[in-house]
Symmetry: D3
Subunit: 131 residues, 6 copies
């Protein structure tokens, strides 16, 4: 069985927020909304969050590629919040901009032109993070 | 054949709007946008609206469970407006918060983590309605 | 916190398979394919299966309505295997045919005519189960 | 208000079935499955079928372009049965093969490479119909 | 092989923006976001944009019907930006409002009530363009 | 700009087909169906196929991770043919079974239980390839 362990981040969420206004807005809104979810203390939601966390740990695949896979899934399912989240996580793990772009390209070609509006917004975040 | 009839609401839309700013904003925006749709007077759109209305009437299934099914469908298809609509309708029919949360859990598990950003926003509305 | 517990089934899977050839084919194929999944013994897959199981237990909502919600989600996301599974589960919990049809109607109206081919196949299973 | 009327078909369903084995198999299976749906006599399903029928009548847009729009919708939502249906309907209305291909191209580019397996099967039907 | 050529527009993007505030906001935001994409100069993105452009040229099908097909695809895949884009393009090619409504109806019936919030916003743009 | 080049395969398609009946059936069916597509010689389809091919070349990201990203996209968009294709391609590039499983886990958690029937069929192919 593959061992799972927390990845080592190059940057903290706070450092990302200092670098990018888009990232800060996303992180702040998520934090605020998660407060309601935490207070509700729903058993299944907590278990799902935990499962979700476990999915992206270092394992048979390096964490950085799993975050990029999360980005591909988010982009082809067209969820801006999820795209922002995985771009930020990938950035925090030291992923290069060219690697992020190639992951988004997989989503663009698999998912089609309907992905383009999300790609445009993703590039706005990439531009701030990799400035 | 099952008889269909209008359900009995515990709360009016106006009472919901007084209780929750998120609900008011949703209801007001929808009302304003529906004005254009009403003016256009498109035959098929009107028939679809009518069919849609009939779907959620009391029938073989109690209306409250059909609204919760509408919530599940909306959450796993990831439409914030539709989620808000069915949460409000369920609330108006006297559905308890724990019931709304369990319906959202079905959508979360069937639909995956891509549902989470919508779940967060749904919980913000639940927090206001069930305060 | 809501207590969760196993629902009481009116019929076993074997009784369902005896009643319907479509159900038997579905159950047998799933059993055979699950053998590979079980042998792989993947930690996250097992946790997801467990979470999935917990979602449909008796809780704030009766299990039968949650199975019907699973049916709505499956139909509007258009997965024949999932539709078959939730129709069978609902049947095993004593859901009436008219209730199954109304749940499918919610999925039809929310999900549109693209649901119709799945509705047709669902009705073939309903016809065998409720013969 | 735009008047709606039945379109004039160049070919009957039977003529299509004589030309293409794929078409015959699709039409026969649909006929057989619709028997269950007809027997169930569900009020909302019948209304939805009726609404669906009205959508593709001659109106502000010629019926042939609406069938091709149904093809585009079916292909980007990836439903083989719906794709077959709209290809056959378009063929019956005298649509040229090059027109069908261009409609499928819109779906391919909007919907991405995930459409390709459906495009392959669509081309098998086109090859038989336009042989 | 079908020849492809640029369609002849009745209105420029600027004329559309003068007529509709919604259109202007959409066009301005897209222009601003595309600047990042252009600067990134990603080879595959540029090729995809080029392919996308080619899809809607005059060909076996008149460009106006292909834009309406793009609208149908966008509406049933539920992308507001894409809906706005194809409504504007169709308008620029001289498409009548009744034709746009019928295309949206195809998406509504194929895609279901989940399309309604997008239809409402589409009608707000139609109201401004065809005022 | 990142250079793109063909990846080096560890196994040929023929070797994969010899190892797995599921793979052989998939490859043979695709080859047969592609014949119609090739004969049609549609300009845009050929360009899309070419773009698709370019997406998975060695580049900023190793080809093996891009094939796994294609697998994640295919699984969360729920396309069995695409899942088979990317599992086979990943296998041909020397990807370990545990890596394939982790990629599928990302799709399972992002895409939800609706992915499970596809996961089951994917594991049947994995079992044959990695026997």
């Amino acid at each position: 069985m593959t061992e799972r362990r927390e990845p080592t981040y190059v940057y903290s969420e706070e450092q990302v927020a200092e670098k990018s206004g888009i990232a800060r807005h996303f992180i702040d809104t998520r934090t605020q909304l998660n407060r309601n979810v935490d207070q509700a203390d729903n058993f299944l939601v907590k278990r799902f969050y935990n499962l979700d966390h476990n999915t992206y740990l270092e394992g048979a695949l390096p964490a950085k590629y799993k975050e990029l896979m999360g980005l591909v899934a988010s982009a082809c399912l067209r969820c801006d919040d999820c795209i922002n989240y995985h771009i930020i996580q990938s950035y925090r793990l030291g992923v290069a901009r060219a690697e992020q772009e190639e992951a988004i390209n997989v989503a663009l070609v698999v998912g089609g032109s309907i992905v383009i509006p999300h790609l445009r917004r993703a590039y706005a975040l990439l531009a701030e993070l990799y400035a």
